[in-house]
């Protein structure tokens, strides 16, 4: 119904610039528009209709339609609708009006469009390089179809450095990262500091860009990709695994059997349990409260063990194939899972009771790293960051997938938008996850766990999937393709949006609060970057001697 409403409004507004609208399901809409209308449509959708920006996808569609394809994904959370504004860009003129002036949340995604597909966002507010390394030559765009996955461009210039902006007057530059004790992965923040107060900052990351998307669309096949998708993230791997499978299933109009949906839900919640317990521990560790760090990890360990018993591995569950799951739950496993949940609940309630009254933690975390409602809206922030600002966003409820439409749970929110609020939200969500798993175990019925796929998947179909990861919404976009692999698979990890808010969150804060502010969004740089160069063709190895390494280091310094 909402999709119909939206359609009528857009028809009125755009007239002939609206080319086609597809509504393959009640909760999906694909709006195909003329290239010149893209900015107006996105402004209307974002500003007037209050949609949340999700991600932009650029694809090289030249071998199929002779044009590039750009899609801007939006979510109408209250209306339970995921939408995509799709346009084509001609081969000879790969330019497109930037939507960033109207939709600030699209900043990174449009820069990525420029780097990887070579579509110029005209009028972008910050047209700097985002993903490609600084020395990478202009004009070589890895995600174009005529570029091989192992392409090495000529003219790489190791001397070229990134051009940072000028620091504000009176400020000193303090580099934070790429290697910093509180960062588990590399990212560089250039902080502009006046005395002890941070006045601004600039980000340069994407140092662990791994090329998973390129590998998927040129080397792997449909049922290989779930195992690669899982390795996008070391914490929420199962989320990417499920999100990918769901996106392909949606594109191919397949549906996993009910028992498989329940098992997906259970494994996602087990993953959320372990992630929340891990994050609460790490946040306390950053604050210098190592007692709770140790206890969180101790309480978390049985969750890892039960995951290992169900799936064969503590963390990489290798759960989904297209159309189902690989591991079934036996009666013994169900009984044991229930026991684990009971112990966990009792222990975690004791921890919550203790920590919520702890004034030391509160003093350290209250009023720090604030992301208020307006920032959440402007930058389309998601997950615990949004919920801690009192914005009840949760894909599990807003865009139900797997078996989430058959379980009841509460979307935990808190007021304040600071680090403390995020701690409270994530601590309380643990209890909700336990409840969800119990309901799934009660409602699950015997049956098959894998759909029998009898035909090859159709080509050129679109599929969207949003899955609520522990740290926010993971969004996958798939265009199905030839040779048993997608033409395009776009992954948007939650940190991709939340990290863009860190400069605003840290502004006018104490320098010492930088670590916990960054830690509080639970950044996952590898998820955001998604690249790993694994040389499949020449997997020759070479051992470097200490002398050689030293020589190399000296040569680099010269």
């Amino acid at each position: 119904m909402v999709a119909r409403d939206l359609l009528n409004r857009l028809k009125e507004m755009l007239g002939p610039a609206l080319l086609r609208v597809d509504t393959p399901a009640d909760d999906r809409i694909f709006i195909h528009v003329e290239r010149d209308a893209i900015r107006a449509v996105c402004r209307h959708v974002f500003r007037d209709l209050g949609a949340r920006y999700v991600i932009s996808i650029g694809a090289d569609d030249r071998p199929f339609s002779g044009q590039y394809l750009v899609a801007h994904d939006f979510a109408f959370d209250a209306a339970h609708l995921l939408g995509s504004v799709v346009t084509h860009v001609p081969e000879g003129d790969p330019r497109l009006d930037s939507i960033t002036p109207d939709v600030p949340a699209a900043n990174w995604a449009e820069r990525e469009l420029r780097d990887l597909v070579g579509i110029e966002p005209v009028g972008h507010v910050e047209p700097k390089r985002l993903i490609l390394p600084d020395g990478w030559p202009e004009g070589a765009h890895p995600l174009r179809k005529d570029v091989a996955w192992n392409f090495v461009p000529e003219g790489y210039d190791p001397e070229r450095a990134f051009k940072f902006g000028e620091p504000p007057p009176g400020c000193t530059v303090v580099p934070f990262g790429p290697f910093h004790p509180t960062l588990d992965e590399p990212a560089h923040f250039r902080l502009y500091v006046e005395g002890e107060v941070v006045r601004g900052c600039e980000y340069r990351g994407f140092m662990v860009h791994r090329g998973i998307e390129k590998l998927a669309e040129s080397v792997l096949s449909y049922n290989d990709i779930p195992m690669a998708a899982e390795r996008i993230c070391g914490i929420c791997g199962c989320v990417h695994n499920v999100a990918y499978a769901q996106a392909v299933e949606e594109a191919a109009v397949l549906r996993a059997p009910p028992r498989a949906e329940y098992i997906r839900t259970i494994m996602l919640e087990i993953e959320r349990l372990h992630s929340h317990l891990l994050w609460v521990g790490l946040a306390c560790h950053i604050l210098g409260f190592d007692t709770l760090f140790m206890q969180s990890f101790r309480i978390r360990e049985p969750v890892m063990w039960i995951a290992e018993k169900i799936s064969g591995n503590r963390k990489t569950y290798a759960l989904c194939l297209i159309g189902g799951v690989r591991w079934d739950l036996t009666l013994e496993l169900i009984a044991e899972l229930r026991r684990v949940l009971d112990t966990l609940e009792a222990e975690w309630r004791a921890v919550i009771k203790a920590v919520l009254g702890d004034k030391n933690v509160q003093q350290r975390a209250r009023g720090v790293g604030v992301a208020d409602r307006s920032l959440v809206q402007e930058l389309s922030l998601i997950g615990p960051v949004a919920r801690a600002a009192g914005v009840p966003l949760d894909c599990r409820r807003d865009h139900p997938y797997a078996a989430y439409d058959r379980v009841e749970f509460e979307v935990v929110t808190h007021e304040g938008g600071d680090v403390w609020a995020r701690i409270v939200v994530r601590m309380k969500e643990v209890l909700q996850s336990i409840e969800i798993i119990r309901q799934c175990l009660d409602k699950m019925e015997p049956g098959p766990i894998q759909l029998a796929i009898t035909d090859e998947l159709p080509v050129g179909r679109y599929g969207l999937s949003s899955v609520e990861a522990p740290r926010g919404e993971s969004h996958h976009f798939v265009i199905t393709g030839e040779n048993h692999r997608p033409r395009r698979w776009r992954v948007r990890a939650p940190t991709y949006q939340n990290l863009q808010a860190v400069p605003a969150m840290i502004k006018d804060q104490q320098l010492a609060d930088m670590t916990i502010t960054l830690g509080s969004i639970d950044p996952c740089f590898s998820c955001t970057d998604r690249f790993e160069i694994v040389d499949l063709a020449t997997s020759t190895t070479r051992v470097w001697s200490a002398e050689e390494l030293a020589r190399l280091a000296r040569a680099g310094r010269r």
Partner: protein
């Protein structure tokens, strides 16, 4: 005052837990039955269909035909993610995901497995690998002729991939 109370509660959380550290590695820690450890290839069961080699997400299994009758199957194990897809698709149950997890080694060759298989001429359909679903079937028309010396995938094909957009995904040698 409330803070003092919460400090006492926090102490109790740790106190009640008692000692939790396991004696591993002084005592063994056997993994659960479903554990996906190092895959073990059974040469007596393997029929050399190469289904595992074509469905390994990490591309860690190589195939090379020495002659009409002898096929070499080589598992490298370096990038292996222990996902267990090889064991899934094996029509003969020749691959087991074992309980071995202490696989760290300074010599990378230690975890390799090499199977020398006798390939008798099949009198039936000639297609030994039956795909679990159409998604596992081979789409590329040609055959694997991997470079065992340099551990490289090589895909040989005749007259294929002249205009295909996915030419570059594998090392292709046109005969």
């Amino acid at each position: 005052m409330t803070s003092l109370l919460s400090k006492i509660r926090e102490v109790m959380v740790g106190w009640n837990a008692g000692r939790v550290t396991l004696p591993y590695p002084a005592a063994p820690a056997p993994p659960p039955p479903r554990f996906r450890g190092r895959p073990i290839f059974d040469a007596t069961k393997c029929i050399g269909c190469a289904g595992c080699a074509n469905n390994c997400p990490a591309r860690e299994i190589l195939v090379y035909d020495v002659c009409q009758e002898i096929r070499i199957l080589k598992y490298l194990g370096r990038r292996c993610t222990y996902c267990g897809r090889c064991a899934d698709v094996c029509p003969e149950g020749a691959i087991t995901m074992s309980g071995e997890f202490e696989n760290a080694t300074p010599a990378i060759g230690d975890i390799e497995q090499r199977l020398e298989l006798f390939m008798s001429t099949c009198q039936r359909c000639g297609r030994c690998f039956t795909e679990p679903s159409p998604l596992e079937q081979l789409k590329l028309k040609g055959y694997r002729f991997d470079d065992l010396e340099h551990d490289r995938w090589v895909f040989r094909s005749q007259g294929y991939l002249e205009n295909s957009p996915v030419v570059d995904d594998l090392t292709i040698e046109l005969d």
